[in-house]
């Protein structure tokens, strides 16, 4: 079997502060090929840290160990900082959770997209500007010319997130790590954004790591779903089988969502079982 685009084997991330040690990620293993993989879990389950570790954006003071952490043959743990800079944005890009804190507040949003493009691609200002305009249009911004000149505080949360996505997709990376890219968006816009992501992933044959807490959306959008709980992957399941998930935690998460097609009086609140901390990952191969 060929080497997958991304291989993560036994990834551990721990934070050492004073006398206490926090294990954010504990022995996580998975592969991502040119496919859409969803990672779901609650806050604090380690899903964002897993994503950040791939770009080596983990805060100082964290200890990362892994048997393997390789992207397209590159060992991400051993790569030098200059090498990482060539990878970040160009080969692996990350769409972050909150555009409010990820965009430079003092720079016009269009200029930020142009900068992202020109850092990695030698091009004239005009060329980059055209490309940025096209990208803004691609993320369904109605008046790109006007939005280009806006400052981040002048755009709504939803628009900010679309600008972030435009900035991250403009270089057409091989692997996109999307950390809750649509949780701030409206349903109708969300669908458009997902369509854009879907298009890029399929057309370019890129891989997508889609971090989210929305199980149903992930089930519909992704090919495969990894369910994380307390720093571990408890279940690895093809997306279309999600509703037949075996792990009690996955089941509990599914049941805790209000649904239009199944009215209930009271929602089920997941009850946690300490055994989930040590039980092996349930893996189901795609058919």
């Amino acid at each position: 079997m060929a080497e997958p685009l991304l291989r993560v084997d036994d990834l551990n991330i721990s934070f050492h502060g004073g006398r206490s040690v926090t294990h954010a990620v504990r022995g996580v293993s998975f592969d991502i090929d040119r496919e859409k993989v969803g990672i779901v879990g609650e806050s604090g389950s380690g899903k964002s840290q897993t994503g950040r570790a791939l770009l080596r954006l983990t805060p100082k003071g964290a200890r990362i160990t892994a048997k393997a952490l390789s992207f397209d043959g590159i060992d991400l743990l051993a790569a030098s900082e200059p090498d990482m800079r060539k990878i970040r944005g160009k080969r692996i890009s990350m769409i972050l959770q909150d555009p409010k804190f990820s965009l430079n507040p003092l720079m016009r949003v269009g200029q930020q997209i142009v900068e992202a493009y020109r850092v990695h691609t030698p091009s004239s200002k005009a060329e980059a500007r055209d490309k940025a305009m096209a990208m803004l249009e691609a993320v369904n911004i109605r008046n790109p010319r006007r939005v280009f000149e806006l400052l981040p505080h002048e755009v709504s949360g939803g628009m900010g997130q679309r600008i972030m996505i435009a900035m991250m997709l403009i270089l057409e990376p091989d692997l996109i790590i999307a950390d809750e890219p649509t949780s701030a968006l409206d349903v109708t816009v969300r669908r458009q954004v997902l369509t854009i992501l879907d298009e890029l992933v399929t057309r370019r044959g890129a891989g997508l790591m889609f971090i989210s807490h929305d199980l149903n959306m992930v089930a519909d959008f992704c090919d495969r779903v990894l369910v994380m709980y307390a720093g571990r992957i408890v279940e690895d399941i093809p997306a279309r089988d999600l509703k037949h998930a075996e792990h009690p935690y996955t089941r509990a998460l599914l049941d805790s969502l209000p649904r239009l097609d199944r009215p209930v009086d009271m929602l089920t609140v997941p009850k946690r079982d300490p055994a989930w901390l040590t039980s092996p990952t349930i893996r189901r191969a795609s058919a």
Binding site: G158, P258, R259
Partner: protein
């Protein structure tokens, strides 16, 4: 569940031709455009729409956080004064979206809850605080905690307790679960449902999540571009009975990634 009482006599909150705009001249933006609705006492009324459609502005206008508006807002059949009086805030309270931002970081839960009681001159603050903490499922041991010692769900419970401690008649809920995990969201939604059943408080909830709003509310108004496009019952939403094309698109977009069956 209570049936909708649109035509019932006992209206608690009513908007007639509400119009809110921000800015002047060329930069003026109309946020709310000729919006009218009636909420009956004890009802749970939901307002749904995309960001920027004006739903939060309506909530903020009712709460008195928007200074100038045209049209009328009626509370208990009386028009609200431009500057809300103390009695209004005794009866109408708001729960904000982000429990991380809406609690004072240097105030203990006890003083957060004691302040509204002192302002409105309630007796027995101690017993009331204990009772409300019990009601939101936290318990009296949480009195001496600071917000940073609480999880997101616990903070939102404190925010709900703060609103409920003075026994209001209407609770304005501005996306009360959108900053929370699904498991915590389930807890808070259950809590809100139970509290309404026990106290008969009226809910006016704003959300962009159709499943959440349908779970909690009896009647739902769909907003777009500052207008209420359509009012539906929860049963209509579940059955997908929408008259307006916009509502239909909205429902489809919402359920497109929800129904995996």
């Amino acid at each position: 569940m209570m049936p909708s009482q649109t035509l019932g006599k006992d209206r608690i909150l009513e908007a007639v031709g509400l119009h809110v705009s921000f800015g002047t001249g060329l930069t003026s933006t109309v946020a709310v455009d000729d919006v009218s609705f009636t909420i009956a006492r004890g009802e749970a009324y939901g307002l749904i729409g995309e960001s920027g459609c004006g739903k939060s502005t309506i909530l903020r206008t009712i709460a008195g956080l928007v200074d100038s508006y045209d049209g009328a807002l009626l509370f208990g059949n009386k028009e609200l004064p431009g500057k809300r009086d103390k009695d209004f805030f005794r009866k109408v309270q708001m729960v904000f979206q982000d429990p991380y931002g809406s609690l004072h970081p240097r105030k203990m839960v006890e003083s957060v809850l004691a302040e509204p009681l002192a302002i409105h001159k309630f007796d027995n603050p101690r017993q009331r605080i204990d009772a409300v903490l019990e009601a939101v499922g936290l318990g009296p041991s949480f009195r001496f905690r600071y917000p940073h010692e609480l999880s997101g769900g616990q903070r939102q419970r404190v925010a709900i307790a703060r609103a409920l401690v003075i026994e209001p008649e209407v609770l304005l809920l501005d996306e009360p679960t959108s900053a929370l995990d699904v498991s915590v969201q389930a807890e808070i939604l259950n809590l809100l449902k139970t509290l309404r059943r026990e106290t008969g408080v009226t809910y006016f909830m704003v959300s962009h999540d159709i499943a959440v709003i349908t779970h909690l509310c009896d009647r739902i108004a769909v907003m777009a571009d500052g207008r209420i496009i359509e009012e539906m019952t929860a049963a209509d939403v579940r059955a997908g009975r929408a008259r307006e094309p916009y509502t239909r698109t909205f429902l489809e977009a919402s359920t497109g990634y929800v129904t995996a069956s």
